[in-house]
Point group: C2
Chain length 254, copies 2
């Protein structure tokens, strides 16, 4: 019943974590009940909600690597209706530990099934195509691929789309994907030209809405709240709000 | 004989690849013979030198995962005196494959030993603290940690320094580290204040030189040459040149 959205890209530093927390904040503002899931050993999503990532027992590492029950993990944050499954540094062991398991990519999907109190579940991924990102792609209805309008990021999309196609043909035939342009600088010639190339190459798979550079996003994570609470009238808060309109618009069509 | 410098950070998008290729270009300009090593499955360093990363047989994946000889890999690029060990997407298997080997973190160090024609060897790492980055830290004399002057990046330094300390106490007692501030925007309040915090917290372990935002760096990778060739009079070319002065200055002290 919950709409599961994964935020993934092998390319580093493209605003995966920032997109996860910002969308979470906007969804809660619209009255939805949201669970954020931090699958990155860096635990930046956990940090961005003001929680120190120091408890292994209460983390996605315990859930995925030790098989502990999702209901044993305390998920409360300081923001009502916005829950979090925190990360822990032990997640760096995921590829080693999970590669010897049976059905290693179904673990997250199966544990999220036992939760029924959320409208949306948002999953933040580390910058690699390992077992953790695979778990997120298999569990999701939609994967958002944040990307900068720059050469290395645009190149990374090839590999991302190939990986997603493989998962659509295998474990998750209903998986949809959309590219989200982030960290966009309207004055930058390269950004404008790469954006055109992305629209030409990916067509309607690129969200019309894009997220421009907004230093308030850098400030909000220090304070430990989403942008919609920290600076509700900022440009990026509005851009993430209209992104949610775009997501729920096409989700209804399905 | 060769000075081995690894460029590493678990945080994604902090200009690891950009720093590697830029330092390589400046060293060659000063008359040194340089080998670049691409350890990232994204193969951005390989791409930035205009080489399509499509040959598994001729890659660091074959070297590290299949034990092929380093002398069998063609290392030429279009730039004289600047050689490259190209990457391949298969590197994503590194953690799984290497974790069952004996001395998995010594593979790179031992294979680089058989080369004697280089003055500098620069190693680009993926954005995770897995087996590939461990190989780079064990092989290196110096590790440069590029970091943005932002919250998540500054937080990542804790984990990086803890990991480096463990390696200094174990496999590589001579390993030195330095933090390099990159993508710096002098007009940005957060950047200025985090930079101050980094100087206070890390002291002389932070390079005095920092790399400011310079869109010419984005352009140079599309053309497939280092910044010192693409835009020799650009601000970032000068900043990377003075960084090399700072590196060779303290290396001589040792
Ligand atoms: N629109 C924006 N404007 C300004 N800064 C931004 C914006 N989006 C993200 N940032 C900043 O850019 C940096 C990279 O973003 P973030 O850490 O969310 O990316 P990521 O893809 O999650 O990185 P990683 O690959 O390391 O997980 C962060 O310091 C973040 O605060
Ligand atoms: N000083 C700079 N000014 C402007 N753009 C820069 C600068 N340094 C790097 N970039 C751009 O920022 C992006 C991130 O840099 P880069 O890819 O080198 O980081 P990385 O740490 O290697 O990322 P990853 O973690 O994915 O390996 C690239 O698109 C690059 O072209
Ligand atoms: Mg992140
Ligand atoms: Mg890189």
């Amino acid at each position: 019943n919950a709409q599961i959205i994964s935020v993934a890209n092998q390319k580093g530093g493209v605003a995966k974590t920032t997109t996860c927390i910002s969308l979470g904040g906007v969804l809660v503002e619209s009255g939805y009940r949201v669970l954020l899931v931090d699958l990155d050993a860096q635990a930046n999503l956990t940090l961005a909600l003001g929680k120190p990532p120091d408890s292994l027992m209460n983390s996605t590492a315990c859930l995925l690597l030790d098989g502990s029950r999702i209901t044993n993990i305390t998920r409360l944050t300081q923001i009502p209706a916005l829950d979090l499954l925190p990360a822990h540094a032990e997640l760096i062991k995921a590829d080693r530990v999970l590669s010897v398991r049976k059905n290693p990519t179904l673990i997250l999907k199966n544990s999220l099934r036992s939760l029924d109190e959320y409208d949306y579940i948002l999953i933040d991924c580390p910058p690699q195509l390992g077992m953790l990102t695979m778990n997120a792609l298999v569990a999701a209805n939609l994967v958002i691929i944040p990307t900068q309008a720059e050469y290395f990021s645009a190149y990374a999309l090839r590999n991302m789309v190939q990986t997603i196609t493989r998962i659509q043909q295998g474990e998750n035939p209903l998986l949809e994907y959309r590219v989200l342009i982030t960290l966009f600088d309207v004055r930058n010639r390269i950004h404008r030209s790469v954006r055109e190339q992305l629209y030409q190459h990916f067509g309607e798979y690129v969200f019309r809405e894009m997220i421009q550079i907004d230093t308030k996003l850098r400030e909000s994570v220090v304070v430990g709240v989403p942008i919609s609470l920290y600076a509700p009238k900022s440009r990026s808060a509005y851009q993430y709000r209209s992104l949610i309109q775009e997501i729920s618009g096409y989700a209804k069509k399905e």
